[in-house]
Amino acid sequence: MSEGTEAAPVLLRADGVGKRFGGFVALQGIDITLRAGERLGLIGPNGSGKSTFVNCVSGDFAQHDGTVALAGQALNGLKPHRRARLGLARTFQLPQPFASMSVLENVRVPLLFSGGAAAATARAMGCLEQVEMAGKAGKLPRELTQVEQRRLELARAIAMDPRLLIADEAMAGLSHAEVDQILTLLRRLNAAGTAVIMIEHIMRAVTEFSERLVVFVAGRKIADGPPREVLALPEVEDAYLGRQ
């Protein structure tokens, strides 16, 4: 954690979050605290519960145990759109654009529903400029490349003026150069004050970006700390990276 964010107020607090699917325990006793403006990396093998945790925070899933609070406000029971209006934005593992709308219209939607309907078009163009997509404003999502679709998701998130962005594998399937492009955008967003939780399998991206790393294995948190220290832990090597 950098000096700047050490003193920052707590933005997200997850206490004892648990989630079951029938008899399968997907998450158990997850405690995570994130400060305003912090950059947190969340890693773990497939099926370790990362996306389930994100879905519990975003409101797509209702957790069975524990509480989640954003800036002191309890999120339990709130629908995803209410959480979004409190400043929680997310991207999806697979880009989920509004397929029948142009790129510009995609970015206008959150503005129309956040009390910012006035000048929504101009503001949406501003968001597209931030992700260097202004030239594609009139295109349809299906006409975009993979990295452009990721940029569109980020532009839509930026339009929400979020306090916290959860980037769920926002770089999956991208080339080395494209990963760098997305990292630059995320850093820019973070520099503007948005805390970021990055869920990623690309270790280079996670370690370059994150101030702190949390590791999930089989629905439990097994490590939480500075990336270098966490990655050097034997249990993390065992469970995730594999011993050499």
Partner: protein
């Protein structure tokens, strides 16, 4: 895991580009001018059958435009259109029988009752998606049909009569009066559908039709918007049904809950082009006109046969309807 709402390819509207400011005044002026022109033309023709045909087609303009608000804009396919239309028709009968009030108050009451029914149905069923929602709306129509068949106050399975006034000044006949009423309702319904499409609500409905989960994630209150659409859709379909007993002077459950209403309410937007206000209007005029032509020249028994063939043709050749086909050629 994706929870994207499943929208059949034939219900996928043509893509829409960047927003342009919507101008409402030219639309209302144009619609009023068209209405006056239709009225004058039919008055000059002076044939009662002209009013009958006009009423028949305009009734479907109202019904299909109403259906399109939930089915086309939001992608929730409602198979219960006949149930809502019959609710409007029987509300008008009940009001007439209980209070003696005539057609116009009956239309207002029909809008209120069918709108509330739409809201209640939406609250209970809009958490369902795709085919599950459609089946639930079909069940609603069956339940309402059973209720009406067993409700003596409105005639049960025997049906109910409404005695139409002989004269309705300044109109030359009751047929002309009904035509003018349905014309006004059609203009109002299309205007509402157009305003919704271009409003924030319309954009939210389009977003949730494309991807409900993503819409929620960016702050769109999807359930609330769906309830607004279901209420509006129900109210306007009820409005389409309110004049029905006055139109024929007699109504029984078989006529009010006719399969033709349910099928046409879906087929007309599909053929015209879903997702835009103009699609159902085009579909109603084309399909309604064809059905009337078949009724006069061959037999009314061919009506659903025509709808079936038209659907097959459009699904195969122009799955985005007439509007989508023209937009695709540009």
């Amino acid at each position: 895991m994706s929870t994207t709402a499943v929208v059949p390819a034939t219900l996928a509207p043509p893509p829409q580009g960047a927003a342009a400011p919507t101008r409402h005044l030219p639309f209302w002026l144009g619609a009023a001018a068209l209405g006056v022109a239709l009225f004058v033309a039919l008055r000059l023709i002076g044939n009662e059958y002209g009013y009958y045909v006009g009423y028949f087609i305009l009734q479907y303009v109202v019904l299909s435009s109403a259906w399109n608000i939930l089915g086309g804009y939001a992608g929730y396919v409602n198979f219960g259109a006949a149930g809502f239309m019959a609710t409007g028709a029987y509300t008008a009968i009940v009001l007439r029988k209980a209070t003696g009030l005539d057609l116009l108050p009956g239309i207002v009451a029909a809008a209120a009752v069918a709108g509330l029914l739409g809201l209640a149905t939406g609250y209970l069923t809009l958490r369902l998606r795709g085919v599950y929602f459609s089946i639930a709306t079909l069940c609603l129509a069956v339940v309402l049909h059973t209720l009406v068949v067993n409700w003596d106050y409105v005639g049960g399975s025997r049906g109910a009569y409404i005695v139409r006034p002989r004269e309705v000044p300044p109109f030359v006949s009751y047929g002309e009066y009904l035509f003018v009423v349905m014309l006004a309702l059609a203009i109002l319904t299309v205007g509402i559908a157009r305003a919704v499409q271009h409003s924030r609500i319309g954009r939210g409905l389009q977003a949730l039709r494309d991807n409900e989960r993503a819409a929620e994630a960016v702050g769109v209150p999807t359930l609330r918007l769906k309830l607004v659409a279901a209420t509006l859709c129900g109210a306007l379909m009820g409005v389409a049904g309110a004049p029905l007993p006055y139109y024929s002077g007699y109504l029984n459950p078989e006529a009010a809950f006719g399969l033709a209403y349910a099928v046409n309410a879906i087929a007309m937007p599909l053929i015209g082009g879903v997702g835009t206000w103009a699609g159902p209007v085009i579909g109603a005029v084309v399909l309604g006109g064809l059905q009337q032509a078949a009724t006069v020249t061959i037999s009314s028994a061919l009506n659903l046969w025509i709808v079936g063939w038209m659907l097959v043709i459009f699904v195969a050749l122009a799955p985005r309807g007439i509007l989508g086909w023209f937009q695709g050629r540009r």
